[in-house]
């Protein structure tokens, strides 16, 4: 008998048996092979969950850590600041190899990353390697020759500044600037693709093909990183989208069109992640579009929600969760804040801008817009990444290789201005750069497809560097006992939705409950607490937020009047740049139910996990180089993770 026939026979038997059972559920059925009673049948065809809790499921069991935003020498500004490592080197380093940094120092990660996106600026991609290599076309141009000779004669820094200024003004000679369509540009993009394809090792390490679209008009940061799901066969059919006209545009709407065109042309998929709203001077999450001066419309909201499902909430140029002026009742809001101005500090910040720059405020405004337009443009998940311009995704506090190659470890790097604008008199010092961050992705396996799909469903969380595990599930039926099972995630997926998911249609009389858990990074600090941040829209159309402490270490008691859990204390020895894990907990888990739920009100919930205080990279620098930091330099911090939210939308 053939296999198919045997299968068919089995199905027929099964169907007959089931039919018999359904017809007479309680009665015993006698046939010529004996009596089939209900108990016996249940043993054969279990109606409830399978005995093995793992059979028939394919949910993620571990997060994969990576960086979606790393620059190499292929980025114009990175090259100018001395980066000599190419995309290929960046992947080798991320995989855990020891290499030589551009500053000549040996460097290695404490542990390999699981994935990396080299996202070099699309404008001028590959210019510096050509310049440094003495490309004949560059040397044939007077401007190119001038810079080349400056670099050759040891005045590289002057050349770099001149190049960056000319680039910013669009004053680089057309003959030498690689733009899409030129052989030089094609070469740079092909090498970017090839480096990723060569480094990609399904199951072990994922190397995504990507680039950064760097819209920066007037110094206002509207940057987006673009990540392709597929390999070079599809990526090679296009060239990156740039911001310079006529080929490119600085308006995100045009970028989204390019994304659609890529998908139509290749049948592939692509996603965009914006970053550094804190340097956009009120333009990152607009209610009024800066390009038109008009309120955002339904099309904008729809396309943005579709194209930009994630936001890079923390990175070297500051943390963008929230701001003390936006969240006055959040005592942890003042974390690694950059609020002096836009990216080049050409315009000072005003408090009115903040609402349109920070993630939490955007999540709140998203609820408001959704009520008006029917679509929430700011329904994004949270990632952290480095934005390092060194080819090195190295953002651990004791292994921080800086923002640019000129800020790789040195005795003076903390006290060099990072940006300085003489016209406004504003400056941001080197010490203000933060060793942050990575993204944790709950994917079923470490492949381009699985990671990309997990990012699209927002099952991701941001960390400021430590690789803690964070779980966050929302549902209607979580009970405290769910936090005590051997594998809480099983309950999480069965009874609720994971981070990035949606709740709706509240059962009568029920408030949403959340299963939330965190496990410390095995080589980093213990955990202080887990908080759940709720934002909601009231009947009057006003948004609100509240931070709840839901799990914490030790026997601390929440303050009866404020409900806040007192600080965990500190074990940091700044002079020696050490701490110990005698306070805090290695893991925290709880089930929390919203005590103030109104089923008529739109809301979002996300978890924030805080580590106990640890020495900041500046403390490690001070210790290693034997230098004294000025009093204003922060030397400690509480590293953290932010999960993607879970949204509640009334039916």
């Amino acid at each position: 008998m053939s296999r198919t026939t045997a299968k068919a026979r089995d199905s027929v038997l099964l169907a007959m048996t089931l039919a018999a059972l359904l017809a007479l559920p309680a009665a015993a059925q006698t046939s010529d092979i004996g009596t089939l009673d209900k108990q016996a049948a249940e043993r054969m065809f279990p109606g409830k969950a399978l005995y093995s809790p793992y059979a028939g499921r394919n949910f993620p069991t571990r997060p994969f850590f990576g960086d979606t935003h790393l620059h190499t020498s292929f980025s114009m500004d990175a090259g100018a600041f001395g980066a000599r490592l190419a995309p290929r080197d960046a992947y080798v380093f991320a995989k855990g190899a020891e290499i030589t940094a551009s500053s000549g120092q040996r460097v290695k990660l404490s542990r390999p990353l699981d994935f990396l996106v080299v996202a070099d600026h699309s404008d001028g991609m590959g210019f510096f390697p050509l310049m440094l290599g003495g490309d004949p076309k560059i040397l044939a141009d007077p401007q190119g020759r001038k810079w080349y000779e400056m670099i050759q004669s040891g005045r590289g820094a002057d050349a770099a500044i001149d190049i960056i200024i000319s680039f910013g003004k669009g004053a680089i000679s057309k003959a030498i600037l690689p733009v899409p369509g030129t052989p030089a540009y094609r070469d740079a993009w092909q090498e970017t693709i090839k480096a990723a394809d060569d480094a990609n090792d399904p199951g072990r390490f994922t190397a995504f093909i990507g680039f950064e679209w760097t819209s920066n008009t007037g110094g206002n940061n509207l940057h987006r990183n673009i990540i392709l799901r597929e390999n070079g066969t599809k990526a090679s059919q296009v060239e990156p989208y740039t911001t310079m006209r006529p080929l490119g545009s600085d308006n995100p709407r045009d970028l989204w069109k390019w994304m659609s065109a890529y998908e139509e042309k290749t049948g592939g998929q692509v996603l965009a992640i914006a970053h550094n709203g804190n340097l956009s001077n009120g333009r990152m999450f607009p209610l009024i579009e800066s390009f038109t001066g008009k309120p955002i419309d339904r099309e904008y909201a729809q396309t943005r929600a579709h194209r930009e499902r994630l936001y890079e909430v923390t990175q070297i140029k500051g943390d963008g969760e929230t701001h003390p002026l936006l969240s006055p009742n959040d005592e942890f809001a003042n974390y690694e804040r950059w609020d002096k101005g836009n990216l080049d500090l050409s315009e000072a910040k005003t408090p009115a801008m903040l609402e349109f720059e920070y993630a939490r405020a955007a999540l709140r405004n998203g609820l408001k817009v959704e009520k008006e337009l029917g679509v929430n443009p700011y329904k994004f998940g949270m990632v952290g990444s480095t934005d390092a311009h060194t080819g090195l995704a190295a953002v651990e506090e004791d292994n921080f290789f800086g923002k640019t190659s000129s800020s790789e470890p040195s005795a003076t790097r903390a006290m060099h201005p990072f940006v300085k604008n003489p016209s406004t008199g504003l400056e941001i010092m080197g010490w203000e750069t933060i060793a942050s961050g990575y993204v944790g992705v709950w994917a079923t396996e470490n492949t381009r497809e699985a990671l990309f799909d997990a990012m699209q469903r927002k099952e991701v969380y941001a960390t400021t560097g430590p690789r803690m595990f964070v779980r966050f599930f929302g549902g209607w039926d979580f009970a405290p006992s769910d936090a005590q099972t051997r594998s809480p995630a099983v309950q999480g997926y069965m009874k609720g939705v994971p981070m990035g998911g949606d709740l709706t249609d509240a059962p009568a009389g029920k408030a949403p409950s959340f299963l939330v858990a965190a496990l410390k990074d095995p080589i980093s600090a213990n955990l202080d607490r887990i908080q759940i941040i709720k934002g909601w829209l009231d009947a009057k159309g006003e948004t609100h937020e509240k931070v709840y402490d839901v799990a914490w270490s030790g026997t601390r008691k929440p303050d009866p009047s404020t409900g806040k859990v007192p600080p965990v204390g500190t074990t940091v020895d700044v002079a020696n740049a050490t701490w110990n894990n005698t306070i805090g907990a290695s893991d925290l888990i709880t089930v929390w139910r919203d005590p103030n739920f109104d089923p008529a009100q739109r809301a979002f919930y996300y978890a924030r996990v805080l580590e106990i205080p640890t020495p900041r990279w500046t403390a490690h620098d001070a210790k290693y180089f034997g230098v004294k930091m000025p009093p204003e330099v922060r030397m400690t911090g509480q590293e953290r993770a932010y999960t993607s939210p879970i949204w509640y939308t009334p039916k």
Partner: protein
């Protein structure tokens, strides 16, 4: 001095000088009979490319003139040296020529018959072990939180272990002992190095020695204690050909080159009647050692 006079190099040099003198006196025409040296355009282009690669810029006109002059000088001396037979019995020249031929034969071979898809598949099948990944392991684990249980954690884990392995009576399921944790309770076909990243290096090293099919432990990780049930060890999975295609092609070509070389060498070798004289005792050296 006596030793110096016996030195073959000296003989060689003297011979060379003599030859040079003889030829130099005997002829004033160029050895190839034409007396013409043509520096072709493509040779000049090669010079420019070589220079640019080294100096990261094209040569100036003066530099180019210099390069061409040098090329002419090289050609003149090369021809004269060849006509004097200086290439003969020169170790470096011999080695270089051998090397050239050894490179040439296999390159020709691989160009004549590029490997077909079938060749690749066959090669991949024959050499499967070369392409295997890292060994992997599948296991289940039960976590014991030392922070919560304190010192008794070890004993409690031990006692749970015997109950997990009990056939009947006191038998328990893994879900009923141990503590909650975010670590995966079931790890399926994970590379040993990945296990190390999740549970720490000590744990993954110990895991290698755990016998299959029985609960064992406790093993220590960065988080606490674990009982483990190792279900299988996989000796490194075989990738799809498509995943390692480039490497397979490279290896196959390398093998082909070696084969081509061996075949060609066998053919060449067959053209010669080789006589190896009986090994004479190394007199000089044994004499030296005797004197000491």
């Amino acid at each position: 001095m006596k030793t110096l006079l016996r030195e073959p190099l000296l003989h060689f040099l003297l011979l060379g000088v003599a030859l040079f003198g003889v030829y130099g006196l005997a002829r004033d025409r160029a050895p190839d009979g034409t007396g013409q040296i043509v520096v072709t355009q493509s040779q000049i282009e090669q010079l420019v490319i070589g220079f640019t690669r080294t100096w990261q810029r094209p040569p100036t006109p003066e530099e180019l003139t210099g390069l061409i002059e040098d090329r002419i000088r090289e050609e003149v001396l090369y021809r004269e040296a060849m006509s004097m037979g200086l290439d003969r019995d020169d170790t470096i020249v011999r080695r270089r020529l051998r090397q050239k031929l050894e490179f040439l034969i296999p390159d020709l071979a691989s160009q004549i018959a590029p490997p077909t898809e079938r060749d690749l598949v066959a090669y991949f099948d024959q050499h499967a072990d070369k392409y295997r990944g890292e060994p992997a392991v599948s296991f289940e684990q039960v976590f014991f939180n030392r922070e919560r249980r304190g010192t008794p954690a070890w004993e409690e884990a031990k006692s749970a272990l015997s109950r997990l392995n009990a056939q009947h009576g006191s038998a328990v399921t893994p879900d009923t002992v141990g503590d909650t944790s975010l670590l995966p309770i079931e790890v399926t076909r994970s590379a040993v190095s990945d296990v190390a990243r999740l549970f720490g290096g000590t744990f993954s090293k110990e895991l290698v020695n755990v016998p299959l099919g029985r609960w064992a432990g406790p093993l220590e990780s960065s988080y606490g204690l674990h009982l483990v049930l190792v279900r299988e060890r996989v000796p490194g999975s075989l990738p799809e050909l498509a995943q390692v295609r480039e490497g397979v092609l490279r290896d196959l070509l390398a093998e082909r080159r070696q084969q081509a070389l061996d075949v060609a060498y066998a053919k060449f070798r067959a053209r010669y009647a080789v006589v190896v004289e009986p090994l004479a005792l190394a007199q000089g050296e044994s004499g030296v050692s005797q004197r000491q």
